[in-house]
Every structure is written in C-alpha cells, then in structure tokens.
Amino acid sequence: MTKAEVRATINGRERELRVDPWRTLLEMLRDDMELTGTKLGCEAGECGACTVLMDGKPVVSCMSLAADADGRTIETIEGISTAEHLHPLQDEFLKLSAFQCGYCAPGMIMSSKALLEHNPHPTEREIREAIAGNLCRCTAYVGIVKAIQNVAAEGVS
C-alpha cells in the first residue's frame, strides 16, 4: 500500500511522516503524533473541536487529509505555549474561567488566535463569526467572547 509522504512544520519543528493517503490530519495529529490536545467531537466538520492552524488559517483537521499538510506549517494547542509562558489568549481564558468542561477550548483558542493575528481589533460580531464554527455546549460564550475582547484591547504580544 503506498503511503503518502508528509513533510510539514508542526509546532515549529520540521517533521517527516508517512501516512495512509486517506488518513485525516486529525488522525495524524492525535493518533500518530499523540498531540491529543486537539479534540475530536464529530469527525464531520461540524463542531470545531479539532481546529488547528494551517499556514496561520484555522482548519477543521477532521476534514483535511494528512497529506494536505505536506509543505505546510501546522500549529496546534500544544505549540502555542511553553512550560513557563502561556499565550495571552490562554492567560485571559484562564483568568475569566471562560470554559467549563474545556473540551472546546483547544479549538476555540486556535480559532481566536487566527482571528486576532489577522484582525487585531475585531468587533464583537467579528469575534462571534470567527468562532461560530467552534461549538461550546457548556457556556453561552460569554467568557469566551470577553476574553478575546480583552486580549484584543491589550494587543497580542
């Protein structure tokens, strides 16, 4: 069976992987690379739990083929903070206790990171549009939207 070669920069490191051509990016990340911070909620592009950044743009990794990551830069929740430093969005989500079960958090954080990188001062409507693909069942998005607003007001470092 021919495997697909995937050369990608994943969380800042060059990686070479061989995957089944039908394997999704989500499966490659979670199962092959054990990057389980990226979550699985539907495997049908409906919930956003599996959102990662591909070349800075949010994608639902359950609907992308692993092979499509070839030559790209992939960022997951594990790649945006270090042991000492959280991303400002993570800091703010933490401060506001924006999440409850937290299952939507990784995807939500990646979507909001992409938003602020390309639109540093979004309106509330723009924030809501940017995270509309990330379902959260536990909250009414209050803390989530506020956290993004606060980080936008302070400017992303």
């Binding site: 979550k39 539907c42 999440f99 299952y103």
Partner: protein
C-alpha cells in the same frame, strides 16, 4: 455564611490550567498497548424481528479479534428489565445495538460490521405516544406491567406517576374561569462535545478495568459485573478527571458493557468511541412531552384548581430506573412554585419506536415548567391582569405544604422573579423593534427545580507532608465539582487550595457514590466531603492530643497545624504526627510512617432520610432551587426569527460555595435554555432520524446567543439549612424557565401563543401566519 476562609469565594476552577493548555486528558485521549478498536452494528429498522445473524464472514477477517451478538450476553434484569445490551430476538428502534466487533484498526472494525448479515422481518411500529397508549395502537412494544400500587398499565405504558391534593371537582366548581390548554415539547439531545468513550481491559482472570467518561461510575461497575457475570470486585471503573460534558446522557451504562464484553473475548484492551451519529441515536434523549393542563381561577387571579395530564414519549426502552424517575420527577415542575389547593397530576411514560428517553438536564421539569409558565401568562391575559401579578399572588412561601405535601423551605421564587422583573424593567414597554418587520415585547417566567438529595461517600487522606487528598466518586463534567470539593477541604482545615488535591475517580480507591445527576452533586458530595473532614479531624486530633497533652475535643486546626483552642502556641505541625525513622534505621529514607496504621484516612457517608408529609407519609428527600428569567426580544413576523435584546437570569443558589462557578452554571443554563427553547429538535421520518448531526441539529453557536452585554446574571441567596454550608443544587434549574419566558414575550409582541416547544423559526413563522390568516 459567617467568616468563611475559602468557601463562597470565586476560587479559580482547579482544572482550568490543564484545560486551556491542551494538556487535560479526557477518556477519548486514552490508549493502551495492543488496544483494539470497537464498532457497533445498529438496527436500520424501527421495529423488527431478527430472523438470523450471520457473523461468520466478519469473524474470518484477519485482524478482527472479537464479534459478539446478543446471544453472547446475559439479559440484564435492570429495572424494569426491558433492554438487552445487544438485541436478542428483535430491534425496537433505528439505532438499536445488534452486534459489536473489535479489530486491530477502525477500518477493519468497520469492514467487519459491514460483513455481518442480519435478516429482519418488519413488525408494526408506532411513533406517536398518544397513539401508542390508545386502543388503536398498531403494536404493543413491550408487554405492560404494573405501575406503582399495582396499577394496571394501559397499552405501551411503561410508567405512571400520580399526585393529588384537595378536591379537584370542588375546586373547578368554585372557579370563575377555567383555562385549558395542550402544550408539547420536542426531543432533544444533550450533545456533549466529547462523545461517549469506553476503554475496557479484561485480563485472563476476568479482572476488568474500564476507563470511561461516565457520570455514574458505580452504576457502570455493577452493570458490567452483571454483563460479564463476575463479582463486582473484579470491575474497576476509572474516570479521567476531565469529561467533555454530560448533561445527563452520560449517566448509567452506555458503551461500557459492550467494550468489556469484547475485551473479554479478545483478551485485549478494547476502545469504543461513539460516533456523533451514535451519540444522537443511542445515548438517551430528552423525553418529548404532551401536557394537558386545566386550571380553575378566581376573578382576582387566585388559583383554585389545577389538573395536569402529561404523556412522556419514552422511546423504545427504559433507561433503568431513569424512566420511572423522570415520570415521577416531572411532577416537581408543577408543584414547586404555586399554591394550588385542589390538584391532580397524572404522568404516563409511553413506549414508541424511537431513541430512548433518559436523563437530560432538567429531568422532565423543564418540560412541565414550559407548560405551567406559559399557562400562567394565559390566565393573566384572560383575566386582564399583569402576568407578574398573577404569579406573585399565587406563590408558595416558606412553611406552606405544596400540592405533593412537601413542607416548603428556602423558597426563592419571589426574590428571583422580582429581581428579574426589576432588571428587565418590567412594566416599562419594550423599545421599538430594530427591524421594520418585527414586533418587540418582554416576557417573564419562574423556573423551579427540585434537586435530589442522594447518597454519597468521601474520604480524605492526610499525606505525610500535611497536605490533603480528596477521594470521591463524583465525576466533574465541567461544572467544577472537583473545585468545590477542594474548597470544602481547604475551608475545613483552613489551608490554601494548593494543599488539597482531588484525585480522579477510580472505584478501587474512591468510595461509593450514586452518580452525577439530578443536580444532586453539590449537596450530597458537599455533605460527604464535609463529614469526611470531620472524621479526619477526629483522627488527627486524637493523635495530636497525646503529644499536646490536651483533650482531643479542645483541639482545632489551621494552616497545617493542630493547636489547642485558645492557646495557639500549644501546637504541632500535621506532618509531625507522622514518625520519621532515625537516620540509619532500616527504611529511614523512605519517608515518615504513621504509628499503628498504614494511612491517615477519614471517610464518611452521607445518607439522607426521607422527608415526611403532614400525615407522616414518606417523601423522597429533595430541595427546591429557583431561577427566574425575563427576556426582551423582537420577533420578525415574516420569518419568525427571534432576536433577544436582553435576557435576565436570576438564580437562587442557597448560599453558593463558589460564586464564579454558580455564575458559570447560569450562563451555561441560558445557552442550554436558548438551544432547547428555540433551536434544537430531533426529527424523524418513520422513526429514522433526519438530523442526527451537529449541522442539522443546531446547538447554539456564538452567533445564536445574545451579546455579552445583553445577558444579565445575578443571584439572590436563600437560607437552605439542610444544604452543605447552605448550598442548593443548581445545575438544572437554570434551564427551566427560558422557553416559557420567550414564548410569553412572543405572545405579547405578536398576539400569537405558540404551544409547541422548541420555538423554532419555522414554527413561529407558521403560527404567526395562521394567526394572521384567522384574523381576516
């Protein structure tokens, strides 16, 4: 609460740091070496006899290590014993589990599923509960048994619950006005973001470890023991500290039995992850209700009689004891708010060939509240009274017996509804609508939900460094119960939160608990942990007493030291109660020991006594919490689209143990209330789900809920003496009032009374169109 140390404050959720970093481990993230993947074959027929199942082709696929059918598993006498783990000789709804496989990869498991051949012979099916319970039902799905008190059940009736007070006929005769209506509610899915997961590992001695995201670990333990026909001591249920939501559908057993049975055949770990479609079809759903309500009122708005007849659509089976409980507990939604001297209620739970109704945030009460709170507005309108006034006039107050003979206590209806009215500026007309085709108005409703007061136990281990470990089998589905338990221990021992660690649920270590449901967690776990602290202190003080030359009763503790009350300088550090062996003694480098014991663990159990009615009749112990909501919205008369300008939600939490977590529950409740109130409804064609996915079944997105400044949350405290530190259970009451408040506002705005919930755009548009047509 006086002088609390940590309780009542907004302590940060102890699990948040892990959750925002992506480090938090959920059941879905777990793997074991050599693990197999499982898949379940599900029925494509709504009701059919199974003529044959041929698994030989599936078994022949290399890499497929276990294939099981109902014939391989004992039938469980789970009350009332109507549901096998895998179908035996027939299937009763589309999605019913028929066979299961475990294979080296998911692809192989799917191939194996496709290779299983099942021959069915269709049986008549019924989908409407009112048809199912009638003489004309095309089929009786399960033979009816007897209800409480030996009541003979009618066609397809699984459960009945009745309550009565006073003299109904007399009440109606005294009334100046009779108001009768029929309300309905739709089927909804809890839709937690993490699907159901079970990873089971059965060794050659039949010892079984199950990692899963259940809300009821001890129930899983019992049921799996029955399915495997082994003693429960062989079953160990481990729940990772993080669960991606539950809301009811992760109570009782779901995939755990199947995964364990497969693992026993393969003697390898087997992981079963439900697909989103399976979460819709095969985990339990919110019972749809048909509610007939008839009220008698005096001209001045006083309620004199009320009769309610509710029909609950059970779906194809009974989810163990849950079916009966929902039937019973739905009644609480009709009795917690208003004084009704003459009262009668009958709830029937009726089988149909649809997914199984079970625990769902609100537990039947959300449905009854929808009817009652819509009805209160209709009464007000018929009498030309203000809806708030009619409500206030009829409220139960502390010291009243409610229609089910509960002595009411810590009643929060008035303070919550008055505060909601104040914040929505009730009485002041709504502003003009923003859209030219819309109409705008306000609506209000009172939510009241009982919280079960159940049994739980907990243990506290004191470590040799003077820190504390909490052992409880209460799972945290996101509401923050782990944080609250840590706060209680920090409070009792007057230590920092960092000195307290709550371990994950593991039935080999954490003690018995009756599961995370019915908003029961705060009260039962709160009490269990509090009592465990008391017992731990007793042991600590006994050990310290000799060393401090004081009576144990004169001791207290704070900051990691035990001291003599009144003379804090006579004290000892908790860690000094452990004995360090002298340097060089055998084993000295292994850490301190505890004299005459292995561990310093204080355990306790909380067991609530039944309540008694005025004539001494036993009643299940419950409390009532309140959450009133008011809304200012506009509705587009052409499209039926609802736009909420402001939603006020006021909770009575008793005395909250953690403000931020309580506000989180209000927020989540509003999201849930809006979802189930206006967006979400599972739909079917001939029993086949037509929207079993998260695109067509619409839970609220960030665009479907009001803006942050349009949501106003607040709390009004009541004095609930029975609660731990005065706290009430609050997780469900927050979802109960939303839909009625919205429907009431729609009526005020447009003149249209929508009696079917959810108030979807199509339904509202249609109702407005019909109403307009009827006026020309």
């Amino acid at each position: 609460m006086v002088d609390t140390y940590i309780l009542g404050k907004s302590e940060l959720n102890i699990d948040s740091p892990e959750k925002i970093s992506g480090r938090a481990m959920y059941a879905i993230d777990m793997t074991l070496p050599g693990m197999l993947q499982a898949r379940v074959l599900r029925s494509p027929r709504a009701h059919a006899k199974i003529l044959s199942i041929d698994t030989s082709a599936a078994k022949a696929i290399p890499g497929v290590l276990a294939v099981i059918t109902g014939q391989d598993l004992p039938f469980l006498e789970d009350f009332p014993g109507d549901r096998p783990t895998l179908a035996l000789d027939r299937v009763c709804y589309i999605g019913d589990a028929v066979a299961a496989v475990a294979a080296e990869t998911l692809e192989l498991a799917e191939q194996a599923i496709a290779a299983i051949k099942v021959e069915y012979e269709d049986l008549p099916a019924v989908f409407d509960p009112e048809v199912a319970m009638s003489e004309d039902t095309p089929v009786v799905i399960h033979p009816s048994g007897k209800g409480p008190g030996g009541k003979v059940m009618g066609n397809n009736q699984a459960h009945w619950y009745g309550a009565a007070d006073g003299d109904l006929e007399k009440g109606f005769a005294e009334a100046d006005l009779i108001v009768e209506n029929r309300f309905t509610t739709g089927m909804a899915q809890c839709a937690p973001m993490e699907p159901h997961v079970a990873l089971a590992d059965v060794d050659i001695y039949d010892n079984c470890v199950i990692y899963c995201n259940t809300q009821t670990p001890y129930l899983v333990k019992q049921r799996v023991a029955e399915i495997l026909k082994v003693s429960p001591h062989k079953i160990r249920v481990v729940v990772p500290p993080h669960i991606g939501g539950g809301f009811g559908c992760k109570t009782r057993i779901k995939g755990e039995g199947i995964a364990s049975a497969l693992s026993r055949v393969a003697r390898k770990p087997v992981k079963l992850v439900y697909s989103r479609e399976e979460v819709f079809a095969d985990t339990t759903v919110k019972h749809p209700f048909v509610i007939y309500i008839k009220d008698g009122v005096k001209k001045d708005g006083t309620l004199v009689a009320r009769s309610i007849r509710a029909i609950l659509d059970a779906g194809a089976y009974t989810d163990g004891t849950v079916g009966g409980l929902v039937t019973r507990n739905a009644a609480y939604g009709a009795v917690g708010v208003y004084k009704v001297p003459n009262f009668k209620l009958d709830n029937f739970r009726v089988y149909t060939n649809k997914p199984v109704g079970g625990a769902f945030r609100g537990f039947g009460v959300a449905q009854t509240t929808w009817a009652v709170e819509s009805q209160m507005d209709i009464i007000a309108e018929r009498l030309g009274m203000d809806p708030l006034e009619v409500r206030l006039k009829n409220l139960l107050v502390d010291g009243d017996y409610n229609p089910e003979q509960y002595l009411m206590d810590a009643v929060g209806s008035r303070p919550t509804v008055e505060r909601a009215a104040e914040l929505i500026e009730w009485g002041k007309p709504a502003d003009a609508p923003i859209s030219p085709t819309a109409k705008r108005a306000k609506g209000i409703a009172i939510g009241c939900k009982h919280f079960s007061i159940q049994t739980s136990s907990a243990a506290i281990k004191v470590h040799e460094d003077g820190s504390f470990e909490v052992r409880s089998s209460v799972t945290d589905i996101g509401q923050g119960s782990r944080t609250v338990m840590a706060q209680i221990v920090a409070e009792e021992f007057k230590v920092q939160m960092s000195q307290v660690r709550v371990i994950r649920v593991d039935t080999d270590v954490t003690p018995l608990d009756t599961g995370q449901s019915g908003s029961s967690t705060t009260v039962k776990a709160g009490h269990a942990v509090r009592l465990a602290c008391k017992e731990t202190k007793r042991q600590l003080f006994e050990r310290a007493a000799t060393l401090l030359e004081a009576a144990a009763g004169d001791l207290d503790t704070a900051g990691g030291r035990v001291f003599v009350k009144g003379s804090p300088d006579r004290s000892i550090a908790i860690q000094d109660l452990f004995r360090k062996l002298p340097m060089g003694a055998p084993g000295y480098e292994y850490g301190p020991f505890l004299e005459n014991s292995s561990d310093l663990v204080g355990g306790a159990m909380f067991y609530p006594q039944n309540e008694r009615g005025p004539k001494g009749e036993p009643l299940p112990k419950v409390g009532f919490s309140y959450c009133s909501q008011a809304v200012d919205l506009e509705v587009d008369v052409e499209t039926g689209r609802i736009k909420i300008h402001k939603l006020v939600s006021i909770l009575d939490p008793g005395k909250p143990m953690n403000d931020q977590l309580a506000i989180g529950q209000i927020e989540g409740g509003v999201g849930f209330g809006i979802g189930t109130g206006i967006l979400e409804e599972m739909s079917f064609r001939d029993g086949k789900p037509t929207n079993a996915n998260l695109t067509d079944y619409r839970i609220p997105t960030a665009l479907d809920v009001p803006n942050v400044d349009q949501l106003v949350f607040d709390q009004v405290e009541t004095n609930f003496a029975y609660g731990p530190y005065g706290a009430k259970g609050i997780g469900e009451v927050v979802v109960c009032a939303t839909s009625a408040a919205i429907a009431n506002a729609i009526r005020s705005a447009t003149g249209v009374r929508v009696v079917a919930m959810p108030l979807t755009q199509e339904r509202v548009a249609l109702a407005i169109a019909e109403y307009e047509a009827s006026r020309v």
